[in-house]
């Protein structure tokens, strides 16, 4: 009989050794790859070591090769750097989990039940735990039986199913608790039931008391050791137990009360059982006894509120949570593991360990109790639980100290593969990257409107600032960045970046969004210098004004690049040297604008008075519509933008007529550097003449303006780029363009596709109030005046929704100018304004702000060189908002220097910071999106290595729309 059993065992072992699993994919190649993980800090747990200041962990074939500060990255290794702020800890080991726990065996002892049979490696239920940094978990076969079976340890993710079972048999799971002493009766109907045999009745099952449980265990042990059966507890229970005893498997026994713990400790001592006390959350008093018995303990911590059913009220049974159990056990020298309760998912394991430290458990001991501690207790410390050469490459990468509530898991690795990473894709520019939460923690946070938080934190989410404060929320998986100081992105109030040298003043209603292009290198450099918003101003002005547009050079796409278009109107008070005519044009424009505004006011008043007639029959509505149509052909003065576009569309969109106009995109590789870059070509066809612009990093630094012809289906364009003459020829057909591109001496085949037929303008939320009358206009309804794109910016300025920037310098003219604008109801932004300081008192409250020219210092001719005046400081002191500007393209990057210089010459740092951020935004009416760190503002943040406006301070990192500019 015994021999048979042994043979069966051998057989079973053999069967398991057979390849029951195949790797899901041929990952052999991927596994052979050497990966080097890098982070700022690593808690090795092995030997209690904590490495700080840059750690490298080398991984191959799912195992750790080396870990340390001075570990060299092997040649050819793939480096995964989580940054200096990241903390790596061993993958957490959950000593308890709700997974796989099924209904228990019907018998009171069934050691043959294997929890591994309950393991579903295909389930995605464990992902939440993996996201919590847990990589291995114990599976209990069942609960509530004297002996309910053998537990297993498994990995919670990974494709190689064979690797995922760490231990098929990690512990013998049992209980002497109340639930194990109340096993229902057992009834096995005989087959067939005959008159002689009868159906029988359910037999009650023992034990019923703690002492009964101890007796039952003793009996079972005795039967197992002597090769007898003890079928009263379960068929084959003793036989199976004998097998388990031979392997030295730990006995993991649930014992909740002190009585139960004492009883099981005595049994373990007398029978020499390797005991693990499960659910020992109140075993603190017995710490020394447990140590003397050589037992270890698993402390389950309440993390779910009131999970212990603490609802007994004013009685003897009231229950209070105990926090110091783990600490007392550790002090006594009992090996422990901290675990979550049966019903709670292990994802909160880290939190449970932090709660347990409340009772005085040291942080390193708490971390050990959720990593190496459980691994040792479960007999899997040779594979998991710490970072040491030869062990499985299971890690949790955190964004802060492992037991801090504010840190969360950024990535989880199992067997050398990242199985979970925050926010999935991390490709720069992707929506996912922008939706990722970023927390910036600094010693000094300059909010922008004068306030400074020490310390301060900013949370960015979905491209916007979600929270600002001394301590902000840390959403799960947030990327945490720490540094000395942070401030809002700076604003260049008057810059040329993006014009690519063009000095032409565009028409008043020109859409500047057409000239900007996302992804430009120079733009990114400017942003990295700290200037995240540039108010793009064409060089030169016209009598009716030129548009200005606030945009973000490092925006990810057109939509997120353009703040508003137009942001402001740029006028010049003086156009020629003839000062007599100063202000003539501006006054004319203002008069028109006032007239225009008056029309709208009248209309608004009329429409307020007007009561709509009762609904008319449909036919009449239609006729009204028809009536309306001829009106749509507006006089040249009144141009409705949308209609204009529509008209353009009609003109250009006829498919055969215009196969050219639109935006074309493609990729090309130019010798000598063969790497593929993208090319973007905008073209507009007018008659046979084609105008356009090409942007491609390998062809030219900036935009290449192109001109040429389109005749008989053939396109020929030419232009001059920074790398030489560029010519393009080809045949556009049905949205595809195949042809040749010559740059200098290189010629290359080109394939482009038309991505859109519209010459796209940035789509943005319409800031203008919708004044368009409804389609079905009943008779008698007041007619809205048309929208005049040229006067609209002025009208918006009258309502405080836009800005008007006026070039004016002399004091007298400044006063005249301000007065003229005052009459029109506009607070202008003065540009230049060399002598504004002289009339500062008169300007207070009458201008939106002043953009001073570069020159910070002014020599007062009346007082000679003896007294230098800082014009910025003068105006700022007088309470007039000022803003810095570059009047340059990449020169915008000098903005922080200009401001620092102003401070060095006596301006208050606070005033200078406001001038760089909030004041600039406010005067240009873009303060609803940029200029301050506040909830709902765009995520434009600079991380600095010192206080802002110190010349020695540099910008460490820049975020635009919540995404880092690299």
């Amino acid at each position: 009989m015994k021999r048979g059993v042994a043979a069966l065992l051998a057989l079973a072992a053999l069967a398991w050794a057979l390849p029951a699993w195949t790797p899901a994919r041929s990952e052999a190649a991927a596994r052979a790859e050497v990966v080097a993980l890098q982070a700022g800090t690593a808690h090795l747990v092995e030997g209690g070591k904590v490495l700080e200041g840059g750690v490298t962990i080398v991984v191959r074939d799912g195992k750790i090769l080396a870990a340390g500060k001075d570990v060299a990255v092997p040649p050819g290794a793939r480096v995964v750097d989580y940054g200096a702020d990241a903390v790596i800890v061993p993958g957490l080991v959950a000593a308890n989990s709700p997974y796989g726990v099924g209904p228990p065996s019907r018998r009171t002892a069934d050691p043959g039940v294997l929890a591994v049979d309950n393991f579903d490696p295909f389930s995605s239920a464990y992902l939440a735990d993996v996201a919590g940094g847990v990589t291995s978990a114990y599976l209990a076969p069942a609960r509530g039986r004297l002996i309910s079976g053998q537990g297993a340890v498994v990995k919670l993710a990974g494709d190689d199913l064979r690797r995922r079972v760490v231990s098929r048999s990690a512990a013998l799971q049992g209980s002497v608790g109340a639930e194990a002493r109340d096993v229902p009766g057992y009834w096995d109907p005989p087959v067939p039931a005959t008159v002689e045999v009868g159906l029988g009745v359910a037999e009650p099952q023992l034990p019923r008391t703690t002492m009964g449980a101890i007796v039952a265990l003793t009996e079972l042990l005795e039967a197992a050791r002597s090769g007898k059966e003890a079928d009263a507890y379960g068929p084959g229970a003793a036989r199976e137990l004998a097998r388990v005893l031979g392997t030295g498997l730990p006995w993991r026994i649930d014992a909740g009360t002190e009585t139960e713990i004492r009883a099981i400790l005595r049994l373990a001592q007398s029978e020499r059982l390797p005991l693990v006390i499960d659910g020992a959350e109140r075993a603190g008093e017995l710490a020394d006894e447990i140590r003397r018995a050589g037992a270890s303990a698993i402390v389950e911590v309440d993390v779910a509120p009131n999970s212990a059913g603490r609802d007994f009220g004013k009685g003897r049974d009231d229950r209070w949570p105990v926090f110091d159990t783990a600490a007392r056990l550790v002090r006594a020298g009992v090996p422990i593991a901290i675990a979550t309760e049966d019903s709670v998912r292990p994802r909160d394991l880290r939190f449970a360990a932090a709660v347990a430290s409340r009772g005085g458990l040291a942080a390193d001991a708490a971390l050990r109790a959720i990593t190496l501690g459980p691994a040792e207790i479960l007999g899997v410390a040779d594979r998991v639980g710490s970072i040491a050469p030869g062990k499985d490459a299971d890690f949790a990468v955190l964004n802060g100290p492992p037991l801090s509530a504010a840190s969360s898991v950024v990535a989880t690795w199992i067997d050398g593969e990242p199985v979970w990473e925050v926010a999935g894709s991390d490709a720069p520019g992707s929506k996912a990257a922008r939706s990722k939460a970023i927390v910036i923690e600094v010693a000094e946070l300059y909010v922008g409107d004068g306030e400074v938080l020490r310390p301060g934190q900013v949370l960015m989410q979905g491209g916007r600032i979600a929270e600002v404060g001394r301590r902000v929320a840390h959403p799960l998986g947030a990327v945490v960045v720490r540094g000395p100081a942070a401030m809002p992105g700076m604003i260049d109030a008057f810059g040329h970046l993006g014009l690519d040298g063009s000095s032409k003043a565009p028409p008043t209603d020109y859409k500047l969004a057409r000239v900007v292009e996302p992804g430009d290198r120079v733009d990114r450099m400017v942003a990295r210098a700290g200037v995240t918003t540039v108010v793009l101003t064409p060089r030169g002005t016209s009598s009716s004004g030129t548009p200005m547009m606030a945009y973000k050079p490092a925006g990810q796409d057109l939509e997120s690049m353009v703040l508003s278009d137009p942001t402001a109107l740029h006028l010049a008070w003086t156009h020629s040297r003839n000062r007599v005519e100063s202000g003539k044009d501006v006054r004319e424009v203002l008069a028109k604008a006032v007239e225009y505004e008056k029309k709208w006011k009248e209309y608004e008043a009329a429409i307020a008075k007007w009561t709509p007639p009762p609904p008319e029959p449909e036919a009449r509505v239609e006729s009204a519509k028809e009536e309306k149509k001829p009106e749509a052909g507006t006089p040249p003065e009144t141009k409705d933008e949308k209609k204009d576009e529509k008209a353009k569309g009609k003109e250009k969109k006829e498919p055969e007529a215009d196969p050219v106009t639109g935006i074309w995109e493609g990729k090309l590789a130019l010798p000598p550097n063969e790497s593929e870059v993208s090319l973007r070509l905008r073209m507009r066809l007018e008659g046979k003449v084609v105008t356009g612009a090409l942007r491609c990093a390998q062809v030219s630094e900036g935009l290449v303006p192109l001109g040429g012809t389109f005749e008989e289906g053939k396109l020929a364009l030419a232009g001059l780029g920074s790398r030489g003459f560029v010519s393009l020829s080809g045949e556009p057909k049905e949205g595809k363009l195949e042809g040749k591109l010559a740059v200098g001496s290189n010629e290359i085949e080109l394939k482009l596709e038309r991505t859109t037929k519209d010459l796209d303008e940035a789509r943005r939320p319409e800031l203008r109030r919708e004044k368009k009358p409804e389609e079905k206009e009943p008779k008698g309804k007041p007619r809205a005046p048309g929208i005049d794109a040229k006067l609209e910016p002025l009208r918006r300025a009258m309502h405080g929704e836009g800005a008007v920037v006026v070039d004016v310098d002399r004091a007298v003219e400044i006063l005249d100018c301000v007065k003229a604008f005052e009459e029109a109801g506009i607070k202008p932004v003065l540009y230049g304004a060399d002598e504004a300081w002289k009339v500062a008192d008169a300007l207070r409250g009458r201008v939106a702000g002043v953009i001073l020219t570069h020159q910070v210092m002014e020599v007062d001719p009346r007082k000679g060189l003896s007294e230098l005046r800082n014009r910025f400081a003068e105006l700022a002191l007088a309470g007039i908002p000022v803003a810095f500007h570059s009047a340059a393209e990449e020169g915008a990057s000098d903005l922080p220097l200009i401001a620092a210089y102003a401070v060095a010459q006596g301006m208050s740092p606070e005033g200078a910071l406001r001038a760089l951020t909030y004041d600039a935004a406010a005067m240009l009416a873009i303060a609803s999106r940029v200029g301050r760190l506040a909830r709902g503002m765009d995520g434009d943040v600079l991380l600095l290595d010192g206080p802002p406006l110190e010349p020695s301070t540099s910008v460490l990192r820049t975020w635009v729309n919540g995404e880092e500019v690299r």
Partner: protein
């Protein structure tokens, strides 16, 4: 229009394992051209089917204007220039397509109830549970299923033995094609059990068998005759083969000295499992979750019946396709062809066309019409073709592959000389939605004619069968307004009494 001569049939007494041996001899004889040993069960007459098109089976060229000649229930010739004997009944169907009968590799229908409550009950047989007048069999004819493996349901750890039947006959014996199809095992936990306890029960069943056999051998060594007395007490047969002992034949484990024990003395409750371990009967193992596949294969391997195992899998088991492919076992895909789940990261719905996954890994698979009647095998095959299998692969999955799984590869699944005369006549292509099964010929006997299918006619054309005409008239007479409600209700009840009898008999006469 096709003409048929009724053929006399002989009722068959209990068909036992011995009969299977006879039939296999018959198969050999028929193929060698002598036809003397034609089985008594089927028609003795000759039947010739002249079809506009004959599709002999997957992977075979269709024959335009072909003739199928069936003698003694077996196909003797298929081709264009087949000489039709003068005494043969001829079905002339120039517009129709002849196709082999569909083979259902696993179903739990056609029984009064699919599951027994016991956990381990290999001694049960589906034979005792099959209900020949179950509507399922009538429907099976309508949809062209001619060979059906009826197995117990999934809610038992080790269930009883299945049986392969044809959907025609008044008794189970008449219907039987193969008396023991295999033992049904479930790797998915039944209600009240967990995966671990199910596995425990499953493993323990084989452990118990082993210990029982060892005990038996030990008793014999000690000269005890307890097992003999028990066998006599239970009235078991102890003569002939049963009186002899035989050495155990298991490929995974053996009990030495079993030749000392007369086979008749082995407990009937243990015998079927012993037959499984010894490789005498196959197994159908149900896997409802991919994680069950490991247990199923492990148990099959440990007990040496992997080679005779077929997995009955739910669609989600495509995730374990690699393990299944490695084990080399065939499968029956049950409960749909497409598996849908949500990606845990993106929340996107992912659809997987399951047969394709198995096809790519070289796993032999059969489709199963286990959803409902309207999703019968032709539907599954047509759907599979639409979703990415080739026509040949899809057709094989409902004919030749299930036939091989059932060990009937030489008897059913295609139209070849020597095989059973199971022919379907379709009004068009067998995978077309507009085609009907017009006729079903089972072992040379025409058993279904759509033009005489009263239920179908009633459903499609509103034609009331003559036998139920009285019911229709009375329905028209009944006016609820005239009488008080309870009276009307009583009347209706009275009227409805007869139809079940009538319908049952009439349905049999017309539909079967």
């Amino acid at each position: 229009m096709p003409t048929t001569t009724p053929t006399p049939r002989l009722a068959l007494a209990a068909l036992t394992a011995a009969a299977l041996a006879v039939s296999s001899v018959a198969a050999g004889a028929a193929s060698s051209g002598s036809g003397e040993l034609a089985r008594p069960a089927a028609a003795e007459g000759k039947l010739a089917i002249k079809a506009g098109k004959v599709i002999p089976g997957p992977g075979r060229a269709a024959i335009d204007g072909g003739v199928i000649l069936i003698e003694g229930g077996r196909i003797t010739a298929v081709g264009r220039d087949v000489q039709i004997p003068w005494d043969a009944t001829v079905i002339d169907a120039p517009d129709w397509t002849a196709f082999p009968g569909f083979v259902e590799a696993h179903t739990s229908r056609g029984m009064d109830r699919p599951n027994e409550n016991l956990e381990v009950a290999p001694f049960l047989s589906v034979r005792d549970s099959i209900d020949p007048i179950n509507f399922y069999f009538e429907d099976a004819l309508r949809w062209g299923l001619t060979t059906i493996n009826v197995e117990q349901g999934h809610e038992t750890v080790i269930a009883g033995q299945g049986i392969v039947v044809k959907p025609w006959g008044l008794t189970v014996e008449e219907m039987t094609v193969k008396p023991v199809a295999g033992i049904k095992i479930s790797a998915t936990p039944k209600r009240t059990l967990s995966g671990a306890t199910q596995a425990q029960v499953l493993r323990r069943a084989f452990g118990d068998l082993r210990r029982y056999l060892e005990d038996l051998v030990q008793q014999k060594k000690e000269g005890s005759d307890r097992s003999r007395r028990e066998a006599l007490f239970q009235g078991r047969e102890l003569e002939g083969e049963k009186a002899k002992g035989r050495a155990m034949e298991g490929s995974a484990w053996k009990v030495e000295g079993l030749e000392r024990v007369p086979r008749g003395e082995i407990d009937e409750k243990q015998e079927p499992l012993l037959a499984l371990v010894e490789g005498r009967i196959p197994a159908f193992v149900y896997c409802g979750r991919p994680s069950d596949v490991r247990l199923a294969l492990e148990v099959a391997r440990e007990n040496g019946f992997l080679a005779r195992t077929t997995l009955v899998v739910s669609p989600v088991c495509w995730k374990a396709a690699d393990e299944i492919a490695e084990a080399g076992v065939p499968i029956v895909i049950e409960g749909g062809l497409v598996h849908t789940e949500r990606d845990p990261f993106t929340g996107k719905e992912i659809e997987t066309f399951v047969p394709k996954v198995f096809q790519e890994r070289g796993v032999r698979f059969a489709l199963s019409a286990s959803n409902s009647t309207s999703e019968s095998l032709w539907y599954q095959a047509a759907l599979a073709t639409g979703l990415g299998l080739t026509r040949e692969q899809a057709l094989a999955a409902v004919t030749t592959v299930p036939a091989e799984i059932l060990g009937l590869g030489k008897r059913v699944g295609s139209l070849e000389p020597g095989k059973d005369g199971n022919v379907l006549l379709f009004s068009g292509d067998p995978l077309s939605v507009s085609s009907w099964v017009e006729r079903v010929i089972l072992e040379g006997v025409e058993v279904y004619d759509r033009s005489k299918d009263v239920r179908m006619k009633h459903l499609l054309e509103g034609v009331t069968p003559p036998s139920t005409a009285a019911m229709g008239e009375e329905e028209e007479v009944t006016h609820e307004d005239e009488g008080s409600p309870p009276e009307a209700g009583d009347e209706k009840k009275d009227e409805k009494e007869p139809p079940p009898k009538n319908g049952g008999n009439g349905g049999k006469g017309g539909g079967r």
